[in-house]
């Protein structure tokens, strides 16, 4: 029954998505950075962090906050500021099987260009077999100087988590355009993702995430990840992603509802990205 329902949900999402494009970010933000989003557990740090869809959460914590920062790729020496950096802050609130998550982020490129993003995700874990959620996103981007006006756009996404005993299936269709920008190249790319994420087992936690995207031609990405807890409070995670090939790894320190995770991602040409995330949840 559950399998049938999962298949129906997947088929519905695929039908809903006539085309898809990739998100422009090379890897996820926050705790999920080190595992490239492959480690996703409804009762875990990934489930309660504010940057994942609300359907990914089904735990006893009532609320939580998340902070994350990423410094993208190696510094390159042509500008006064050579950094591409993003910071994000978000929160989670859950009540009687319903969860709401929200976050805002600010991205800065060379002190020349900025992008701001806000997302609200509302989901339910009280529905049998399938936990759905809806994401509403708004974006704003522009140059710090000059007369060109900042551009805005908006999109929605739908996600579902189908939990089984040893693993869960995730399905995401995001960046369905609601409001397009007035300029070319700042569009709302559609993305379709499907993943299988194990629960904690003797070998840790594993996950595989597939993404189909189209920027005129189809592009596929596959990520495989592993998370292993050396000690009760110390974990390691790593992931491998194709197209482009990136390797990521990270360290997690967790204590009760709090977690600090550091992630590192290596692109063979553009170099290393460094990220730090702090999550805290309370009851």
């Amino acid at each position: 029954m559950r399998f049938t329902l999962a298949c129906v949900t997947a088929a519905a999402l695929c039908w809903w998505t006539p085309a898809s494009c990739a998100s422009r970010e090379p890897f996820p933000l926050g705790y999920s950075m080190a595992g490239s989003g492959t480690i996703l557990q409804q009762q875990g740090i990934s489930g309660r962090e504010a940057f994942t869809p609300a359907c990914a959460y089904a735990d006893s914590f009532r609320y939580g906050i998340s902070l994350a920062g990423v410094d993208y790729f190696d510094p390159m020496d042509n500008m006064e500021s050579s950094h591409l950096a993003q910071v994000a802050v978000g929160g989670m609130y859950s009540l009687r099987g319903f969860t709401a998550k929200a976050y805002v982020s600010h991205f800065d490129a060379l002190r020349v260009y900025f992008e701001q993003e806000g997302q609200l995700s509302v989901g339910a874990s009280c529905i049998p077999f399938v936990n759905p959620s809806v994401e509403l996103c708004g974006y704003r981007a522009g140059l710090y100087q000059g007369s060109d006006p900042a551009q805005t756009r908006a999109d929605v996404g739908v996600s579902a988590m189908v939990p089984f005993r040893y693993a869960a299936v995730s399905l995401t269709c995001c960046h369905i355009p609601v409001k397009n920008a007035a300029i070319a190249g700042y569009d709302t790319p559609l993305t379709l993702r499907a993943g299988v994420h194990t629960t904690v087992n003797a070998l840790g936690s594993q996950g595989i995430l597939c993404e189909a995207a189209s920027d005129g031609s189809w592009r596929f990405r596959v990520s495989i990840g592993e998370e292993f807890w050396l000690l009760r409070k110390l974990g390691l995670s790593a992931a491998f992603t194709t197209n482009p090939v990136i390797v990521s790894f990270g360290v997690i320190l967790a204590w009760r509802g709090a977690a600090v995770s550091a992630g590192f991602v290596d692109h063979p040409v553009l170099g290393w990205s460094k990220g730090l995330a702090i999550d805290w949840a309370g009851k």
């Binding site: 990739a22 998100s23 422009r24 970010e25 090379p26 993208y72 790729f73 190696d74 390159m76 042509n78 500008m79 050579s82 591409l84 490129a109 060379l110 020349v112 260009y113 992008e115 981007a141 522009g142 140059l143 060109d148 551009q151 300029i183 070319a184 190249g185 700042y186 569009d187 920027d215 005129g216 031609s217 592009r219 197209n243 482009p244 990136i246 692109h267 040409v269 553009l270 170099g271």
Partner: protein, 287 residues
């Protein structure tokens, strides 16, 4: 007495003239010793273009190529049996077939076809140049193993300071320039450099900052692959080969669509002399 004075004056004038002639002649001879340089070669003839090489008079005085010879020690060809004066700084092209060459490059005026042509080897060869007195004035060499991407382009000389027998003196020309100064010589440097601008660049056809200028300078005998990457880590496009000193990017992807706004990366992978170097620059695209 008058005759004696006149004779003495004539002797004095003759002596002064001789001294002046010596002073003037010494630098002229010295300049002509290293005056002629081969600055571009095209040994790989095509159906529409014969073999040719370019010579430059790098001296400050005219140079007469009459009775100059080139070739090997046991096989020489007369460049010109009559007066053929190359002006100071002048560039002439010697070719196997003047008619075919001029059809390909009609703008080149100083073209000379020797009575007999010494064929140039497509892969490796050495040519010697002797002046009218038989003194060796120039020798050049090339070897296909010096270059990674030599197909049917010409070889351009990038340094007159280096011997023309070593690979550091030559590069594969991005486009042939017979009869013209070599473009490569102006941008080849001792160290590799990459510069891009403007930042941000705005390819929105408003006539302002619509193109990104990508400027690269390379050491001689080095080659480069220049690519543009997006913020998502994907390669947007590879810029044309062989490398040029400057590219203009209009903000389009290799598929023809517009590149996303936001940060991007220009990456030059430089190889040569058994080494590999990667230069990277960040930019911002906005429309």
């Amino acid at each position: 007495m008058c005759c004696a004075q006149a004779k003495k004056q004539k002797e004095t004038v003759a002596a002064v003239a001789l001294i002046l002639a010596c002073f003037l002649a010494i630098p002229a001879v010295g300049q002509s010793d290293s005056a002629l340089s081969v600055t571009e070669l095209f040994p790989r003839a095509q159906s529409d273009c014969p073999e040719w090489f370019e010579v430059t008079n790098a001296s400050g005085a005219p140079l007469d190529l009459k009775n100059w010879k080139y070739g090997h020690a046991d096989d020489t060809c007369l460049i010109s049996s009559s007066d053929y004066v190359l002006p100071a700084g002048g560039i002439a092209v010697l070719t196997k077939d003047r008619t075919l060459f001029s059809a390909k490059y009609p703008a080149v005026s100083l073209v000379l076809q020797p009575a007999r042509w010494k064929a140039m080897d497509n892969y490796h060869d050495t040519l010697f140049f002797w002046d009218s007195s038989g003194a060796l004035r120039e020798n050049v060499g090339w070897d296909y193993r010096w270059f990674d991407s030599w197909t049917n382009q010409s070889l351009a000389r990038v340094s007159l300071a280096k011997s023309a027998l070593v690979k550091e003196a030559w590069v594969v020309a991005s486009r042939p320039s017979p009869g013209q100064p070599n473009a490569e010589a102006t941008w080849r440097a001792t160290g590799a450099e990459l510069d891009i601008g403007p930042i941000p660049f705005t390819p929105n056809n408003d006539g302002r900052d619509d193109y990104l200028s990508i400027r690269i300078s390379l050491p001689a005998a080095a080659s480069a692959v220049v690519s543009v990457y997006g913020f998502d880590g994907r390669k947007y496009l590879d810029l044309p080969q062989p490398p040029s000193s400057q590219y203009l990017w209009n903000g389009s992807l290799s598929s023809g669509g517009p590149a996303p706004v936001g940060p991007f990366f220009v990456v030059a992978e430089i190889t040569g002399n058994g080494t590999r170097q990667v230069l990277r620059k960040k930019g911002v695209l906005w429309r």
